[in-house]
Subunit: 372 residues, 2 copies
Amino acid sequence: MRWCLAVLLAAALALGAVGMPSPAPLRFAQDGRFKVALFADLHYGENAWTDWGPAQDEGSDRVMAAVLDAEKPDFVVYLGDLVTANNVPIPNATLYWDRAFSPTRSRGIPWATIFGNHDDMPFEWPSEWFSPAGVPPVHCPPSTMPSSGCSFRGTPRMELTTAEIHRDVAGLSRSSVGPQELWPGVSNYVLQVLSQEEREDPALLMYFLDSGGGSYPEVISGAQVRWFQSQSQFLNPDGRIPELIFWHIPSTAYTKVAPKAMSKISRPCVGSLNMEDVAPQEAEWGMMNALAKRPSVKAIFVGHNHGLDWCCPYDELCLCFARHTGHGGYGDWPRGARVVEMSEKPFSVKSWIRMENGSTHSHIVLDLGTSR
Amino acid sequence: MRWCLAVLLAAALALGAVGMPSPAPLRFAQDGRFKVALFADLHYGENAWTDWGPAQDEGSDRVMAAVLDAEKPDFVVYLGDLVTANNVPIPNATLYWDRAFSPTRSRGIPWATIFGNHDDMPFEWPSEWFSPAGVPPVHCPPSTMPSSGCSFRGTPRMELTTAEIHRDVAGLSRSSVGPQELWPGVSNYVLQVLSQEEREDPALLMYFLDSGGGSYPEVISGAQVRWFQSQSQFLNPDGRIPELIFWHIPSTAYTKVAPKAMSKISRPCVGSLNMEDVAPQEAEWGMMNALAKRPSVKAIFVGHNHGLDWCCPYDELCLCFARHTGHGGYGDWPRGARVVEMSEKPFSVKSWIRMENGSTHSHIVLDLGTSR
């Protein structure tokens, strides 16, 4: 039970405050299932000084509410780009970051977050604000530091996560900051889902990785690869526990299995949206090799490409895009969320996409391979 | 003497602390001259984790020392890009910013600074730091805020200037922060140079403008145009006092008068280096019109293009590049500094370039025009 100590330590870290109640462990339900909704690319906080910015944020609230009410998931993963920080004209984006949890929190559903490439970007001053028309009225809070002014310099990843944890009085956030040696990456941590029957045994491990972007390059580092290898070896040395992976930016492996952009998606790939090229990480420093070598790793889930929602096999792994959930961000494709439902015994993974209008599509049963 | 109050207020602001002695006013010397050295594009702080970064900073120290000892100027203008903040792996670039003044301070010469596009850039993590080789040993000071970590997010303009003023115990910095309505631009202020004879009368006005870049677009805004118009009308309503202008990034007007890149520089332009295209501001929001309309405005001095060092006429204004002074930044052309020498009566402006090796070239007497 070596994992126990690590998980307890991680939970203590995630709580971030002595005296708060331990959050209930994640666990497969009585029916042997565990259902996760993926909210990808919400892009809250765009153009707050116009009508359309706040209106689209309300749209994002509605998408999440519709998905949560239809699916009643056990867990939510916020798959990065929760905010469009380069468009957020306040020095601190944590207010928008917090708003993203509102529909999930109000339903009492636990969640976890990972970072996308927009979450800690510095504010990009619109060029037209320098024209004779000038700067529109924007929220510029009175600063206690006269020197900080309205510098709008973005909110660091650490500050976003620590604010999330600090504000989570209900104990629903399972987000955590990874070890310091992985900085500037922050959202690197592992969550376990306990067995329905064996009260202390994990039946699923979920690895969250920071795929960079924003304040640093869009990569998963060699240091993260080493961390994953040591964590997985420590928590799951015999590979008995199935493992799922979540990060924001598709790895270059996605480009290898992608259907040609704009073409029909055909088996073995499953999906409905194939409207652009994969926009992959800048480099591959070994994470895909490390994952492909572990039969216990079943699938990777990413966001980032708003115009893609497919799953394709890669070796014996399943590479899946989520579905663009937020009304913020580029693209006019209808919004929705990928849902991932696991059965514990025998372990299986189903997935589909739940749309804002209530429909579902792109149902798939993940091929977990003979050796998996 | 309306300007008196404004100048005193600006001086009080620049000192930034009650109880410090007022700095001596800038004044034409006994021989009726006032000599300014322009230090452009020093780019301190590059690649501090290698040998070549610190070595080139020592080179920049030597260039400035050589110019100062040869020219003995009355004043130094730091013309932006004092640091390459996107390459500075410490959360606070003020140490490098301060180092740029060292040769000037040790000789007791007053100075002023304006911002370039590199001074408040956020740190750009080198992509290779994410390879299996990892991050080289870098200075990562123990933080009092656990959440700030090593986020290396750049140092805002306001913080750089306030640190400069705060550390200036000798009262040599004449830098100031402009009015809040011009933010995110910061280096917007006016300095006067008093007459040699008339003890309280200014004989020259030097306008410093923030031409943007780094944390916001590379522009001079409509708000800055209005500020310049009201300041110049207030300080110099009859245009009796000659005026010089300093900013970092050439305006688009420079592209109109530029000799074709790589071609010989011929009259009426004067210079030695014409190795690249002008890299102008993103837009022109009226500053050039405002300047061209004032016969009292004689010349504009900019940096930014390391491969250009010419002066060319534009209408009745003289548009001048400085000379790349720092060993940091792109380009291998020999380093030097533009020197600008004014005579008070009759007002005239000479300029030349002083090289690191002691030679001078590109002597020019500015044509101040019949109406100027």
